[in-house]
Subunit: 404 residues, 2 copies
């Protein structure tokens, strides 16, 4: 399989692909150095250049000078829904359905409890993607325990077929965090609806890397983080999508004062606000939230279709490079080859994966390791070059040669 | 009551008090201007000077250069418990019992659900401070609904006496946000324990303004925000205290992966970590969290006893000034005069309170208005001067004269 004679051809291809890349200039909107090939944007996105100047102004002027007045005058109070509307087009949502705040885990809790409360009466189970990112499963179990449901794990591709008259809702990952497999949102959602169940999607590993069509696919509720392909910074707040038609029935298990119809009325009784705001809870972490807002500027003039085209071309090229350069039998591709089933990462199974990743990192290629034996390489189309993909494959070939 | 002839005496007293203030120099640790008398630190604390340089380093170097490596190398992963241990001495807690993250509302939810799960079997009600900050009541109702309890509102001072064999837990505000009344933590907690119930305290309006003795008072669980007297910045993350002896039984309703015993093992089954870490949920908002950490530097060498002494002297002086300068009958003191019942704010009831506060703000005295007719003035001992208190009283006298 390995064919080192192809190296010059690969170098020429990388150069040609980079020269023709319509997103090439977007890389300049980030703070990056050429010493590192950063393929871990699926865990923590790189730093957009806009963030620090914006944050300095938020701290110095908005907090330091205006202080309490900034809740109104600097637009802090409405930031969760304003920034939600910036994310909306990236996930295929019309305005007014996405609100930012809290962690992904907390939003999974809101979404699942709200979903089972909206399900037809008498439904007893929540289906959960069996290979889910663990926190989704833990929180689903917690939500099920509090609402008197059971959790049934089902492989993501079989969730639609598994749904039946007992199913209240299903929680599915759009892209599997470990394998990079992309699941069928439209088909699964339709099957869930046919069974009378609600569809809750986790977009952590898809939003910002490929087009997501929440509205068109009829999704009921969705959650996602913003620190991966949306580059919002470490632990930047997550978001919650609540389909417009469901908003009047969205009954939050965490009805904090930020979701009250008249939050400054300080009434003892809870009266929910209308719209996506109903998904808010307590006071948002403004510094993290406004850093995210600045980070979203990198999307100006960028379409998710362009991003998807480059993502597939990048991962195709990386697969080609590794096939050509890696010693035979050293690594097994885990990420599906068909485009329709591939997210924006390439996962490889290999012996000594943890050690291989340490060595790669030491040599300037940063991906990550997921137990027991997976190397993950995330390709963020906004700032990853084809030359980076080739360099990563070359160093990976060297390192795996060394471990043979 | 008003006696303008006392004005020169008040000016001299303010100068003498400021000259003798052992905390006077702490004001220089904040970014403040003399044009404004900022008496809203009980809503949003002023900006500590350390915050911007620290945040610039977090963004530029830790996120921008080290990127994903910072979770380990820059101590991001352990920040919630590390910063919890910085807050611990301010609330009278030995290390290992406080963890930072999420909003106050979310922490109230964790604390209350965990509390009723630890209560003796068969208990059916949660007592809630009848004058509570609204979100605590909304969340208590939500927690009660999910766990099959009822909520019974009781005036905070009567919570101990009201607790009985049906009481699972009580949620009480240490200082009432509207009146500034300080409640008896030790006595109420002891009475709750005598009834077999758990005590959950909300410290939002006391921590950082006066000594809190969670360990000594036997409190079971507590929550608090960090953006008021702890000056952590807009919406900075809240904290959760779980008494050490209860930690092994703390059964979180939000068992996110950050509270797992082996979070990077990515196991499908949940196994809680030991200690305060069990109160974590999802990925913390690192920028807001580390801004808070920098903000806590202002406490170096400052004791809560010194803060309390100055707080009482400041509010006493402000009460004196308003009594001397305000036209008779213009305002009614709502905050209790006895020191043992007073927090660090002065609340006044007056006609046209909303308009009075708008005018005060326009004239450089920033407090806030709480419906229906309360003016709140928060006195942060770390940066408020006696001269500020006098100036605020003078302008308030002018403004209320104008509204007569």
């Amino acid at each position: 399989m390995s064919d080192p004679t192809r190296a010059p051809e690969l170098t020429a291809r990388a150069a040609a692909l980079d020269a023709a890349d319509p997103l090439a200039a977007v890389r300049d909107r980030f703070v990056l150095d050429d010493a590192t090939v950063y393929l871990d944007g699926n865990s923590l996105g790189a730093l957009p250049a806009e963030v620090l100047p914006r944050l300095a102004d938020v701290v110095t002027r908005e907090w330091g000078e205006l202080r309490i007045r900034s809740w109104e005058e600097s637009g802090w109070w409405t930031a969760p829904e304003r920034i939600g509307d910036r994310i909306a087009p990236l996930v295929g949502a019309a305005p007014g359905q996405v609100v930012v705040g809290d962690s992904t885990s907390v939003n999974v809790f809101k979404a699942l409890v709200a979903a089972v409360r909206m399900a037809p009466p008498g439904r007893t189970e929540i289906l959960v993607d069996a290979a889910t990112f663990p926190t989704d499963g833990y929180i689903a179990a917690a939500a099920a325990r509090l609402t008197g449901h059971t959790v049934r794990p089902v492989p993501a591709a079989e969730v639609g077929a598994a749904a039946g008259p007992a199913t209240a809702a299903a929680l599915v990952n759009h892209v599997d965090y470990r394998t990079g497999r992309l699941h069928d949102m439209g088909g699964t959602t339709a099957a869930l609806h046919a069974a009378g169940a609600l569809a809750v999607w986790d977009l952590c590993h898809s939003a910002g890397a490929l087009p997501v069509a929440l509205d068109a696919d009829g999704v009921d509720l969705a959650v996602g983080c913003t620190y991966k392909y949306l580059n919002g910074g470490p632990g930047s707040p997550a978001y919650l999508y609540v389909r417009r038609e469901l908003q009047p029935r969205f009954d939050s298990p965490l009805p904090g004062w930020n979701s009250h119809a008249d939050p400054f009325g300080m009434a003892p009784g809870y009266q929910p606000a209308e719209g996506a705001v109903r998904g808010r809870v307590g006071t948002p972490e403004i510094l993290s939230l406004l850093a995210l807002e600045a980070a979203l500027d990198v999307w100006d003039g960028v379409t998710t279709e362009d991003v998807r085209a480059k993502s597939l071309a990048l991962t195709d090229f990386f697969l080609d490079c590794t096939a050509a350069l890696l010693p035979a039998g050293r690594a097994e591709f885990v990420t599906p080859a068909p485009h329709a089933e591939r997210g924006s990462q390439v996962s490889l199974r290999c012996a000594g994966a943890a050690e291989v990743m340490r060595e790669l990192t030491a040599r300037g290629v940063v991906g990550d390791f997921r137990p027991p034996d997976i190397l993950r390489f995330g390709f963020t189309p906004l700032y990853t070059r084809y030359a980076d993909a080739l360099r990563a494959a070359r160093i990976l070939a060297d390192v795996t040669e060394g471990t043979a």
